[in-house]
Assembly symmetry: C2
Homo-oligomer: 575 residues x 2
């Protein structure tokens, strides 16, 4: 497994230069592939922006921190004055209101309506149920519920009426333009002298919006961000403590005492030792399985205005969690906290410590890829988590058997796959025997995820490739980690020449990353003027104004729409 056991005997062997040339080849090839891929994805993003030019979010910007109009004292007035003065193709605006209460009321109305319907259907059904119905005086119950529903609907209508809405305005608005060029200009420029007033961003897709977060003011959002960062950091660093505690409590011997039927497992020969051996690992994996959901929950406290932003945040947090608690904790002994403390006090020793730890643990990662990778795929195919969640929801909260269609869980899949890439890159030179296992993992993963994406999940948002810069960064980190490990390893094997020769490689890698930040990243944050103009010209040639009417109505929050119980449209768009 470890090629270095050979060279370990002859210290400072010249055969280490073979490893060095492998390192060079892999480094440059990864850089080449990364460049090619970033280029390709940038091209596709621009194509995609052009292709989806009729989408309402291309005409619409989100304005926050609106000052009040000095003449009329309202936010809407200021927006109207400002944009009609500065942009010729300004169309209209839609002020956002802070009435999260309506959403809850609409949900309540929706659930009462469902209950009434179910009970009515039961009444029609058969004689036994009819008797049961009479016996439990459900008729009175239905009447009571109908009265309640009427009250709720009245309350909703009262809240939705003009006068109440006026009082609940927040300094946030959607502004629609007739041309995409003006929307692009308005979204990316600093409009006023104070950069925190009249802050503009591109509006997310209507179905991607998290409406209730729009009302959060800036300073609270900054506080939330800081809080979430601290919480995610603490979770990552102190994760091992609760896990070890649970592992100490939940032992097979103790379970047998408290839950006697578990003794049945002992009857099957050999199973006892399997359970005793695997239980701590299963507990750890169970916790790790829950982490993406915990991170997503944390990210939703951050006050992101779009689900896609939230999931990208969660994706980043999960990746760094896995890097710390799966990769570093596996290769280094002890808790992550001790390791961090030691690294902080002796930063110069990091490469050599990393090297000695990495070269010792390649077997462990083959096991990791084989067990966790494969079990992850089977869980994904079986949809174990979602089915359990659905079962629990249906039988405890009484939501019935609605069809469930969720978006692809990028925040769970991307970090795990990125971790596999990281393991592959770090071990590519040290222990190449790991690579075939990774190849199987990726081939299987490709088959599984292509199927899942096409048949199981729903498209919930379209970020036009916003995930790629993050994945690029993970791969960049992998290559950096590989090079630092190799610097340490060549040092350990008494080859300081090779160790020093790796440093320019590391510098080149960092410079390449800086180049990518300048060459490709801006296109993922901005929309080029040329692309917007081309779409505008296409519309002009067609003699239409694109999907402009759609854009105006698309950014009406769901709670502003009438409560239509029959068609079931009360259910908010954001689930």
């Amino acid at each position: 497994m470890e090629l270095f056991t050979v060279t370990n005997v002859t210290r400072g062997s010249d055969r280490l230069w073979v490893h060095f040339s492998c390192l060079c080849f892999i480094s440059f090839y990864v850089v080449y592939l990364l460049h090619k891929e970033y280029n390709e994805i940038t091209r596709r993003r621009i194509e995609h922006l052009k292709y989806h030019c009729k989408r309402p979010d291309q005409y619409t910007i989100l304005v926050r921190g609106i000052p009040t109009c000095p003449d009329h004292g309202t936010y809407g007035c200021y927006v109207d004055h400002f944009f009609s003065k500065h942009y010729q193709t300004y169309q209209s605006y839609q002020i956002v209101h802070d009435i999260g209460n309506i959403e809850a009321l609409q949900k309540l109305a929706y659930s009462i309506d469902k209950q009434i319907k179910r009970k009515r259907e039961t009444r029609k059904c058969n004689i036994w149920q009819w008797i049961w119905f009479k016996f439990t005086s459900e008729a009175i119950n239905i009447q009571r519920q109908e009265r309640k529903l009427k009250d709720v609907l009245l309350a909703i209508r009262l809240l939705q009426c003009e006068n109440t809405l006026k009082q609940k305005e927040v300094p946030v608005a959607f502004v629609t333009f007739k041309s995409r060029l003006d929307a692009v200009h308005a979204a990316e420029m600093q409009l006023l002298g104070n950069p925190l007033s009249l802050v503009t961003t591109y509006a997310p897709e209507p179905k991607d919006m998290i409406w209730k977060n729009l009302a959060i003011p800036f300073w609270r959002m900054a506080m939330y961000k800081l809080g979430v960062f601290v919480a995610a950091f603490l979770l990552t660093v102190f994760f091992t403590i609760p896990v070890t505690a649970v592992q100490g409590i939940v032992q097979f011997n103790k379970i047998k005492r408290w839950f006697p039927p578990a003794r049945a497992l002992q009857l099957i020969p050999g199973l006892n030792s399997v359970v005793t051996g695997y239980l701590p690992g299963m507990i750890l994996n169970g916790f790790i399985y829950l982490v993406p959901f915990a991170m997503l929950g944390m990210a939703s406290f951050e006050g992101c205005i779009a689900n896609s932003q939230k999931e990208i945040k969660a994706c980043n947090m999960v990746f760094y969690f896995l890097l710390g608690n799966v990769f570093f904790l596996s290769i280094l002994s002890g808790s992550l906290l001790d390791q961090l403390g030691e690294s902080f006090t002796h930063p110069k020793d990091i490469p050599s410590r990393l090297a000695s730890a990495v070269s010792a643990q390649s077997d462990l990662f083959i096991t990791y890829i084989l067990t966790n990778g494969m079990s992850g795929f089977s869980l994904e195919v079986l949809q174990f988590g979602l089915l359990t969640w659905q079962f629990l929801k249906a039988h405890s909260l009484g939501h019935g058997k609605e069809p469930y269609l969720y978006g692809f869980p990028y925040y769970r899949v991307v970090p795990i796959v990125s971790l596999a890439i990281l393991i592959g890159v770090v071990y590519a030179v040290v222990a190449p025997l790991l690579l075939p296992f990774l190849l199987i993992y990726f081939l299987l993963g490709y088959a599984v995820y292509i199927n899942q994406m096409e048949d199981v999940y729903e498209f919930t948002y379209d970020t036009c490739g916003q995930y790629w810069p993050n994945i690029h960064h993970y791969i960049f980190l992998s290559v950096t980690l590989m090079q630092i490990t190799m610097i340490g390893l060549f040092g350990l094997k008494s080859k300081p020449g090779a160790s020093f020769a790796t440093i320019p490689l590391l510098v080149f890698n960092i410079l390449f990353n800086e180049y990518c930040k300048v060459r490709f990243l801006p296109t993922f944050h901005h929309r080029p003027v040329q692309v917007a103009k081309q779409s505008d010209e296409l519309d002009e040639a067609e003699g239409t104004t694109g999907n402009l009417d759609g854009a105006i109505s698309a950014y009406k929050p769901p709670w502003m729409r009438p409560t239509n119980l029959e068609s079931g449209s009360v259910r908010p768009l954001t689930v």
Copy 2:
């Protein structure tokens, strides 16, 4: 001097809380002042942008990385097509050419012309000089020089003609708009899918331009930047080595041996010891005096397109140099390199080491402020450096007695004054007796610099307050350094409670800095849309188009203008 010698006896004295409350008061007061000042300077910047709305740089943007037009194969054609299509108020463009040679030729023509004139004047002067003139056959010399001048002027005209210029085009152009709003939009947006092609920035003021750097392509500029960063870093870290070497060589005893007249100093009683004692210090100060010029020289290799950018770069480099080689080297013994190495291996000990070093060295900084500060002012008033430089130039290079008018040397003054602020802030709690000396220093400095600015120096550029964010950052660094020192000091004085209580103060300070970056900094990098529109409206109300014609001609490089020897206008604008 040191208040802590009192509390040193009673370890962990409760009187340390007085120091802690002083620390709190100073921290919050500095934060309050910084906020007030940043707010004020932001307001002034916007006022200034409005006031100078007729300046040509408000209509003009600089475009770099222009692709060639697919139809005609020229850069100019592409610029014209692109901007006339995307911006309604596009006016004209001015392609930049890579003929730095012309500038040298024009300088040559200018100097030959001067020599001829001088000699002719000599001929008219008096009889002795006339005889000398005849005797040395200067007449033939003049004729030869006149012929040479003619050749040079012909060469310039040949280079300036259309056909030669066409071949020397570089993908850089100045683009002028009729409205400031479009100029602002075009300067700040990403225009094409590739963010490195058609890169736009605001054009610097014409008199601030460094024309010859316009032709430098991006990748070379990035290389230069990296090179300058490495060079400045090396100079800062290894500065002490050559200084110590020179100090070793130049000793008074050795000088006496090589230059016997120096023995005369020994005749004056007491002077011998003064010279022996002060010589090493004077050598160090002499080197430090030269550093700003060295840094400015380095910064000019970076390929900045404006003198103001170059000087801001130099200003930053000089500040960090002084922080390392005056502040840290004075308080810590040994060379900066050793200190960096030790800090790198034991980052946790930094606060306590800093604290023990800082509290021991307050006398030294009083001496520093009194001697270097005062001698700096006298040098500034006497203009010693410039006069020497002018003398050397006049007598060796033969440039004659031109009047010299330089711009205010911000890159030299700002870092030195910032260092004084840093010393004041760091010692404000530890050794408040230093403050009266600083007060004298600042009062004197105010008087000196106000006078110098009004009567001695010329205005060479106007950045609309671009220096402030840097000065703000230096003061922020001072406060951070003070707080880290106090954390260490409370720890050393067995007051861990006060030590931990300082950490929130440090966090608050960092958060305040982040807030400033969001609230104020963008206004220094962008120009608000509202301001540009207001200036446009003012012009419309006046029925003019501002100073638009001036804008078009202002960005003609000096070497494109006819060589007019009589009026002396050959001399390029950028000196």
